[in-house]
Amino acid sequence: MLAVLRSHPVSEVSSPVVSDAADERAWILDAQKGDQSAFGQLVRRHQRRAYAVARAIVLNHEDAEDAVQEAFLHAYRALDRFRPDQAFGAWLHRIVANAALDLTRRRKVREADELPETVASPFRDPAESDDLRKRLRDALAELPPRQRAVIVLHDVEGYKHAEIGKMLGIPEGTARSDLHYARARLRDALGSFRSE
């Protein structure tokens, strides 16, 4: 999936080719007038990246899908407040990140109320086999959700610290330090795997 994302790096998405930008702007204006098929085009263009952002925060597939659906629904309802001069992707990713963080918080509260033996493992991917992948998942799971969001938004999605700060509602400096610590933890996980 991310190979596909990398074929549209953020530098392109921030200033996409003219026709892409014009298309997107037209879709947004039509969607703001209530055209659901235009909103459908926006969904099609952004759902992959939205999924990656959500997945990084909630870690499991089901919750990532829930967060993405919630986020697009929220975006549709809030579309009249979106100014077309903004970057739609950044605006949407802020909604996705908040939906995913909210889901994580609700899950934490729910799990705290449940008995330990009924707590579901967040890792239910049946394709789990690769030891490195598992180790990285474990390292990611140990990171606070916000740090996970920051490292994915920065290193995978290519956003700048200031943009991430705005998306997550944190100071730019906090985004910097979150990224620093998240990277260190992941490098540790990878490093220990390589040294074994």
């Binding site: 969904v43 394709a127 992948r133 290193d155």
Partner: protein, 118 residues
């Protein structure tokens, strides 16, 4: 020391990014999967759109609240004005009645003579 210096904006570690890829990918990264997700999202959007015909936008709600507030103020002012007018009419009517009674029954408005004590 500023955070820029403390945590310089170094380029992403390609090892970390490469390792993150499979972790962030859905179990089935196929066109069918994305079509399915798109359909589910749009079904929820359609549901939201279906109830939107009777719901009102925040802008319309704000305008409605302002209009309602102005209407309440206008009604209040009108009610005050009406009450004042009614009071004035009542006082005028009472005064006119007293004058009429005094005309018809002379001496009615004079104080009653107190009977002398024995």
């Amino acid at each position: 020391m500023g955070k820029e210096l403390q945590f310089p904006d170094v380029t992403p570690d390609p090892r970390v990014v490469a390792a993150l890829e499979p972790v962030l990918a859905p179990a089935q990264d196929t066109p069918a999967y994305w079509d399915g997700l798109h359909r589910r999202i749009m079904a929820r959007v359609a549901d939201a759109g279906a109830i939107a015909w009777w719901s009102i936008s925040p802008a319309a709600a704000r305008a409605g609240l302002v209009a309602a507030g102005l209407a309440i103020l206008a009604l209040g002012a009108l009610a005050l004005q009406t009450r004042e007018l009614n009071n004035r009419l009542a006082v005028d009517a009472m005064a006119e009645t007293e004058l009429e009674v005094a005309r018809v029954i002379p001496g009615i408005d004079e104080p009653l003579a107190v009977p002398a004590r024995r």
